[in-house]
Point group: none
Chain length 241, copies 4
DNA sequence: AATGAATGAGCTTTCATTCAT
DNA sequence: AATGAATGAAAGCTCATTCAT
């Protein structure tokens, strides 16, 4: 049903739009935004140049559409993984892994595109709030924010935590480190290890009572245990309605 | 005498080079790299286009020279501030403040240019080690690394700290957060507060005595019990639905 | 109907292409290849510069197209004149006249363009066979070759004639001499006289019954005597000086 | 003595001039006239750009100087080889061989340069007589002309021969054929065979009495014999003064 | 005599976008 | 809706030549 719907709604128009986006995405990834002409995109998508501009009034609009879709999927996958587990720490690990996976699968394309977009949009730094990219990013990082807030509500994260700083550290750290990670052959274990190395310090600093370093140690395992117990409880609740 | 002569003329050359770099820097900041033509740069620098290419064989080379100089100054100022105080935590705060100041003074130009450069240099992700930008960055982040290492030697930072992860969090967090910070009117106090909010969590996780990931599962029997509980829950989930 | 439409529009395209070729041809003739900018060509052809590169992806491609067309016409006219008469000698005269006429009508442009093309195409001397110009020339000179071969078959030309040498002499001689001929006021009679002067010696050497190099030393005893005489002379020279 | 003279006269000025000419010659050969910048030439010659223009006021002047020197040497070597033997036919063979050798040694550079020069000098075809290249060429071809004239005076070549046509055939044929010869691996035997193939037809058509093809045969060996006998006689005369 | 910094017009080519069909 | 020919401004870069030192 859903499938039929999707197929049905996938009209020729939508198919073409998707073709163009796909073609543009991989060309941008290979040659960069400025290095890819609309002519090449049209050719790769199997449409004429005129048609391309029927679908996207501007090369920038096309870029924006790509970013939109990317963030859409990224946000959706982030929501999915945070629903899979209940523990805050585990959620963060999954979020980080998902973030890296998405970026790496696209050959870091998105980071480049985002930066290019920022460079293209000259008003960006002057009017960040009105930038479409801000909207995308806001939607996405809300998933992270919700995880943190839920952790606070359940009492596992100290309530005086400065959320925005932790968010900056989380995503900033991941993306900064990705530069190093890219270009190497990496396997799942390495990615997992890297993710842990990034998340662990943040996790430690979020704990209740970590104001003094010494206090943290005793409480930490207990917290984890409690969270996992709670997660089991919730799953049981759902299973026996 | 001859040497003096040479020095004199070298000064003129250097002046011109500086003029070009200055003109290009502010134009890039205003209009972006791709939005600034070499013609405009030459005009702004008060030289002919030919002369511009006399000094920088390529527009890219000019970009690189700008980045080089920026990193040079950034690194120098970082060294200076870390020499001003002895405490590791204070050093980190100063480093962060210096980093933000440098980036903000340039209207975040440098971050944008770096990204543009990486986008231009397609070999980047394939061969990051040979990228000039890597060399610049390496020189700069060594200042941070040294601060951390000295903290370890003095016993203020636990010796098993994963340096690279902390480095990624530090610089990545600062730069990621700067997007938000930019475009607002900010005063020194706000910047200081932001810096603290970024550095503090990292500092906490660096302290001696903070448990490592391995310690977390110290309570082995409890852990085992939990796992069994979770297994039971899963069986229930499958059985009931 | 649709076909008609297509033909109509194709005609317009072809017209534009022809306009560009014509404009380029006469500009090249007046100012030389390197002395003519694509801007001037576009203006002379009444199209924009962008359009010019729509039709010919490169200035070199345009040059090649001109040469192609020139050789096409040259070859066609050569075939026509050789069909007009039957006698081999007359055919050669007509071919030569046609060759000169075509070159002179174009103010020797073509010779210049060919040379320029060869100079531009650096691979020429290394891989003449793959040079487009070789293909053009081959098609053209085959007309000459066929005339000679037919003359052999009919018995008017001795069958051991080295065709390629005669071909080189024929076309090389004509083109070399054209330098002198050009720039003078010449009338048809003068051209005819010149053509005869070039063709006649070749014609004589082609005749059946003309001795080959081998025959020359038929008088063996005389030859031997001569050699002994020369040897004596050499000994004398050495002894006396 | 002569060597000392040469060294003595080879002042620094002359040396530099020679350096520039040498550098330009090989660069032109590799990259073509238009493909070689004066900057590259200066660098290859080990002088500054300014100095280059001290010696040659113009890039064209430099080209002309190269051609001048080339023709100078070519003419000198042509005179030398025609002095080595007395027989007209042998002289022509040597002249042809010398011509090919000189052109081939220079990777056909000279042909290209001459053509380029003709293309550069727009007035060429309108005012061939005033073209410097005409002067060079005239000096050179006079060697050929003298050989022919001497042959006529001695009665071995028919006096009604159209000298200019034969000259065109000789040089034109050689140069036209050289295109084919170049780019192959060629050895001395092949060159010699080619030269014979070019000269032989011309030689046949020059003979006294060749008005009718049949007549030629009988007389030809005799002519050769006579020429060689005469050559021996002259050498003897010289040897016993 | 020698230098090499400086010039600026000029080059070929690309590009996103429009519009008549 | 789809085409693709047409645009023309602009781009980065090169070049032969000059001239103050």
């Amino acid at each position: 049903m859903q499938k039929a719907d999707k197929n049905k709604s996938r009209t020729r128009l939508e198919q073409r739009e998707a073709d163009i986006i796909d073609a543009a995405t991989s060309l941008f990834a290979e040659e960069g935004f400025h290095g890819t002409s609309t002519r090449k995109i049209a050719a790769a998508a199997g449409v004429s140049e005129g048609t391309l501009f029927h679908y996207f009034s501007t090369k920038n609009a096309l870029l924006l559409a790509i970013l939109d879709e990317f963030y859409e999927q990224l946000t959706a996958s982030a929501r999915t993984v945070t629903d899979e587990v209940m523990g805050t720490r585990e959620r963060l690990l999954l979020l980080a892994k998902n973030h890296l996976r998405a970026l790496m699968e696209n050959q870091a394309l998105m980071m480049r595109l985002i930066q290019v977009y920022l460079a293209v949009d000259r008003n960006y730094y002057k009017d960040y709030r009105n930038s479409p990219i801000h909207e995308f990013n806001y939607r996405y990082t809300r998933v992270f924010d919700n995880v943190i807030r839920e952790g606070m509500e359940r009492g596992y994260i100290r309530p005086d935590l400065e959320l925005s700083a932790i968010r900056d550290l989380f995503f900033g750290g991941l993306e900064y480190g990705m530069r190093t990670l890219m270009g190497r052959k990496y396997n799942n274990n390495q990615v997992a290890a890297y993710v842990e190395a990034i998340v662990e310090p943040l996790w430690q600093s979020m704990q209740v009572g970590t104001g003094t370093a010494g206090d943290m140690v005793a409480d930490k395992p207990l917290h984890d245990t409690l969270e996992r117990l709670e997660a089991v409880a919730m799953r049981l609740e759902k299973a026996v309605p």
